[in-house]
Symmetry: C2
Subunit: 515 residues, 2 copies
C-alpha cells in the first residue's frame, strides 16, 4: 500500500508489489460484500423450509462441484464467490436452520445474535487481557452476570454481586467455545487441586485420581478426562436405569466413591448433567453435591441444553442445589438464541481455575493486570486468544428481554408437549421416557407378534425413511438398550405447523412401513 520506494525491490520476487493498492477492508467492499451476504441470508431463511433438510450428496461432492482443486491465482468479483456458495455449498448443507430440523439439539439463533457476532468479526479484537480489550472483557463479565441472574444462580458464581456494594467475590464466569472446554478446564483445576491435596510428587499421583459421571453423560466428558490425563481405568461410569428415568443414583455414586476411597484412590471430580443429550435425563444436583462433598471432590454441572430452560421459574428447580457445586456450564448456542459458539462456564472460585491456567509471558504483562483489579479471561480458558463472544450474548438479552426469552422457551416446550401427546394418543408408538423439556423420545411399540428387537428395527427403518424424504430430519439414540427416536423441538424458524406436519409424515411413513 502507499508508495514505498525502490528499496522494496530488495525483496526476492519480481511479483513484489511495493506500491500495493490491495485494501482488504476497503470501505466500499466491506459495505457491498456484507450487504450481499445479508441479502443472501434473508433469502436463505425465506427459502430454507422448502429445501431438503438432509442433502442428497456423496462424499467428495463439493470438490467436483467447485472444479478448482487449487486456489485461484487472481481475484474475482465477490459475486463469483457468492454464486458458488449458492450453487455448490447450499445444496450440500444439512440445514440446521430449517424449521423441519428435529435432530440432535437445535442450534437456536436470532437476528440480534447474528448482528452481535457480525460486529465482533469486524472489530476482531483478541481479548486475552483486560487491557487488550477492556470493553470486550467487561461485556463478557456483564453478559455472564446477567445470564446468571436469569438462571437465578447464587451470587457466588457472579463476578459482580447484584447488591449495592459492587464488591468482587471469588466466583465468576467465562465464555468458551464448547461444553468440552468447560469440562476440560474444570477437570484440570480439580486434578491439580487433588494432586496437591494428596501430596503427589508432580503428576505421579494422577494414577490414583478418579472421576465420576452417569452412563448417560455426554461422551465428550470421557474425552475431556482423557485429554486431561486421567487414567481411562479410573473413569467411573455409574449405571442408570428406567426406574429413575436414567438420572444418576446418589446411592450408587456414593458406593462407587466410597469403594475407591477405601482402595486408596482419590475421588476428584463428579459431572452431573441437567438434560442429558440422549434422553434429557436430569441428575439430582443437590444430592450429587452432598455425596461429592464427603470426598472433597469437584462437582461440575453440565446444563448445556437445559440450562436455558432454567430462566423460567417453572424449570428452575432442576438446578436446586447448584449453590453447593463448584462449577456449572450451559450453552446459549443451544437453546438461548445465540449462534455458535457460546458456552458459559461459571465457577465458584476463579482462583482455582487460574492456578492451573494462568500464563504470564512478558509480552502480555501490563499495568492493569499488575494492579489486580481485573480478571484476564485468558486465565480461565484453554488458549490465549479469544473472540469478542460476550457481545452477541448481551445483544440477545438487551434486545429481547427476559419475558421474550422465557416465551421462546415455553413456546418450544409447549410444542414438544403437543407432539408428545400426539404420540401417546397413537397406540403404534410409545414415549420412552417422560419429557422434561422440548425433547420427545419415542419409538414404535412392540405389539402382537412384534418382538422388542423387531420394534427396534422398525423404528430404525422409520427414521431412515423419514430422513430420506428431505421433509424432516430426526436422529436416534439408544435408551435402555432400545433404539429410540429423538424429536427435538426448537429450531428458531419452527412453528406449530411444522411439528404437526412432521407428525403427519411420521404417521404416514409408519403406515407404509407396517402395511
Amino acid at each position: 500500500m502507499g508508495s514505498l520506494d525502490a528499496n522494496s525491490a530488495a525483496l526476492a520476487d519480481d511479483r513484489a508489489a511495493p506500491g500495493s493498492s490491495f485494501q482488504p477492508l476497503n470501505a466500499d467492499d466491506v459495505r457491498a460484500y456484507l450487504h450481499k451476504a445479508v441479502d443472501f441470508i434473508s433469502d436463505y431463511y425465506a427459502n430454507v423450509e422448502s429445501m431438503a433438510v438432509l442433502p442428497n450428496v456423496k462424499p467428495g461432492y463439493l470438490q467436483e462441484e467447485l472444479k478448482l482443486s487449487s486456489p485461484p491465482n487472481y481475484s474475482s468479483p465477490f459475486e463469483v464467490t457468492m454464486k458458488e456458495l449458492r450453487s455448490a455449498v447450499v445444496p450440500g448443507m444439512t440445514h440446521w436452520a430449517s424449521p423441519n430440523f428435529f435432530a440432535f439439539f437445535p442450534s437456536t439463533n436470532s437476528a440480534a445474535a447474528i448482528a452481535g457476532d457480525l460486529i465482533a468479526s469486524a472489530m476482531n479484537t483478541v481479548g486475552f487481557t483486560w487491557k487488550a480489550a477492556p470493553a470486550a472483557t467487561e461485556m463478557e463479565v456483564l453478559a455472564l452476570d446477567w445470564l446468571a441472574q436469569l438462571m437465578r444462580l447464587p451470587a457466588t458464581f457472579m463476578t459482580r454481586s447484584t447488591g449495592s456494594e459492587g464488591a468482587r467475590g471469588t466466583g465468576g464466569g467465562v465464555i468458551l467455545g464448547t461444553t468440552s472446554e468447560a469440562m476440560l478446564v474444570t477437570l484440570v483445576a480439580a486434578r491439580d487441586s487433588a494432586l496437591r491435596r494428596s501430596g503427589s510428587n508432580g503428576v505421579a499421583g494422577i494414577t490414583r485420581l478418579t472421576v465420576y459421571a452417569s452412563d448417560q453423560t455426554h461422551s465428550t466428558f470421557f474425552k475431556a478426562c482423557r485429554l486431561a490425563g486421567f487414567d481411562p481405568a479410573n473413569i467411573r461410569s455409574i449405571p442408570t436405569g428406567p426406574e429413575a428415568h436414567y438420572s444418576v443414583s446418589p446411592e450408587k455414586l456414593l458406593e462407587a466413591m466410597q469403594a475407591d476411597a477405601e482402595a486408596g484412590l482419590v475421588p476428584t471430580y463428579v459431572c452431573a448433567t441437567v438434560g442429558t443429550t440422549s434422553s434429557n435425563a436430569v441428575d439430582p444436583v443437590g444430592a450429587v453435591a452432598d455425596v461429592a462433598a464427603l470426598f472433597d471432590a469437584w462437582v461440575h454441572v453440565d446444563a448445556a441444553y437445559a440450562g436455558s430452560a432454567c430462566i423460567c421459574p417453572e424449570f428452575r428447580h432442576y438446578l436446586d442445589g447448584v449453590e453447593r457445586v463448584d462449577s456449572i456450564s450451559m450453552s446459549p448456542h443451544k437453546w438461548l438464541l445465540t449462534c455458535l459458539d457460546c458456552t458459559c462456564l461459571y465457577v465458584r472460585d476463579t482462583q482455582r481455575l487460574s492456578d492451573s491456567l494462568e500464563t504470564n509471558p512478558e509480552y502480555l504483562k501490563n499495568d492493569v493486570t499488575d494492579s489486580g483489579e481485573v480478571t484476564d479471561l485468558k486465565d480461565m480458558q484453554v488458549g490465549v486468544g479469544r473472540r469478542f463472544r460476550g457481545l452477541k450474548l448481551w445483544m440477545v438479552m438487551r434486545t429481547y428481554g427476559t419475558a421474550k426469552l422465557q416465551e421462546h422457551i415455553r413456546s418450544d416446550v409447549a410444542m414438544a408437549k403437543m407432539f408428545e401427546e400426539l404420540v401417546r394418543a397413537d397406540d403404534r408408538f410409545e414415549v420412552v421416557v417422560p419429557r422434561n423439556f422440548a425433547l420427545v423420545c419415542f419409538r414404535i411399540k412392540a405389539r402382537g407378534t412384534m418382538t422388542e428387537d423387531d420394534a427396534d428395527e422398525a423404528t430404525r427403518v422409520l427414521m431412515e425413511n423419514l430422513n430420506k424424504t428431505g421433509k424432516m430430519y430426526l436422529a436416534h439414540t439408544v435408551v435402555g438398550g432400545r433404539f429410540v427416536l429423538r424429536f427435538a423441538v426448537g429450531s428458531s424458524l419452527q412453528e406449530e405447523r411444522h411439528v404437526r406436519s412432521s407428525w403427519e409424515l411420521i404417521k404416514k411413513t409408519t403406515s407404509q412401513l407396517t402395511d
Copy 2:
C-alpha cells in the same frame, strides 16, 4: 408460536405464552438488524483511525455506562442496543482494527472473511460429523488443502492429493480456534502414543514423558503441556541466545533429549516455532525434526504468525524440513485476512489424532461414518460441536486469489522493512534482532553515561508515553534480558502513512524524554 390450545395452560406459570408470536429470525428483523450492523461496521472502519487506539477507561467502566445491572424484562427496539454499543462499548475498545495498532500481532481481516463468518453465523450448522454438515465438512477440507498448496506443504498433510488419483492419504487438517488447541490435541496424541510405546500401564508412565521447546516458545505451549497432564518438571525449556537470534540450537536440543533418554525418560514431543511471538525467531525445522527422529518424538511446528508469509516463495524456506515433522499449525486469523478464530492444524497421520480424540456416542452414529468414506472432524479437536469456519477461509482465497494474498504479505513486510531502516538510521535506537517478517524489535540504545538498565527504563517510559497519546499502540517484550518494543506492522487498514506518522511520533516522544 402458532395457536396451541388450552392444554398448554398446564404449564406452571401464568406468564406462559402458548400463542407466542415471538419470531427471533423474523425475515424483516434479520434484514433490518443486519443492515444496521453493516452500516455500523462501515462507519466504524471509516472512523477508527481517529479514535484513541487504547481507550481511557477504568476497570468497571462498562457497568457504570450501561446502567442496567440486570437484564431488562421487556424487549427494546434494536436501535437501543446499537445506541448503547456506540455510546458505551466503542469508547472502551482497544481498537485492533485501527491502522495505528502495532501491538502483539495484528488480527488481520477482510471484507470476504467477515462475510463468510456472517453467513456461517446465520446458517449455524454444528458440523461434528460429515452427515451433520456435509458441505461444511468438505469445505473445511477443501480450504485446508488449498492453504496447504499455498504454503507448499507436502501432499502428506493434505486430505486429497492434488494429483489425478484423488486418493486419500493418511494426512489431513482441521480448523481449530487457537494454536493452543492445536498444541493440546497433538500433545495428547503424542502422549498416548509414547505411553503405548513405552509399555505404560494406563497413564502410569506419564511421569517419564518429556517435552521440549525453546525458551522463546509461546507460553501457551507450557500451558497446553500442563493441560495434557505432563509433569511440569518434565517440560524442557531449551535456552537460546543472541548468537543464533534466539532460535533453538539443534545441538542443545539433542543434548537435552539424549540426557533424558539416558536417564530412562521418554522424549515425546518437540515444539519448533517459525516466528516466535517475542521476536519472530525461527527454529530450524529440518534440523529439529532430524534430532527428534532419533527418539521417535512427535515434532510440531507452530507457525501461527509466520506461516502466512510462507505463501510467498521468498519466505517458504523457513519451512524447509516440514516434510519430516508430524504436525504444523498456522493461524490465518493472524496474518491471512481471516477474522478470529481460525487456526489450521495439519497432521501427517490423522489416525494418531483420532485414536486419542474419537468419540462415538449412539446419537452421532450414522451410515456415512460407518462407511469409512469420510473424516468426522470432531475426532480431530477438543470438543464435539464446531462452527462452519471453513467458509470464511475459503471465501478469502476464492475472492482475493493467491497473487493478492502474496501482495498483502509483501506490502506489510515492505512497510516493516521501511520502519526498520528508519530506526537503524537514528542512532538513539537499536534494532535488537534482525527482522524476519513484519515485526521490528527495537529499543533506546545505551549511549554515553546511560547504562543498559537506564535504556530499559527509558524504553519502558517511551512505550507508556506513546500509548498514552492514543495515537498508536505498541507492546513490549524482553529479549536477552532487555526491555524491547515490538512494532508489528499489518493491521488491515494500515498504510505506509500510518507507519511514517507513528515513527514521527516515536521520534518526537523520545526527544521529549531525553531533553
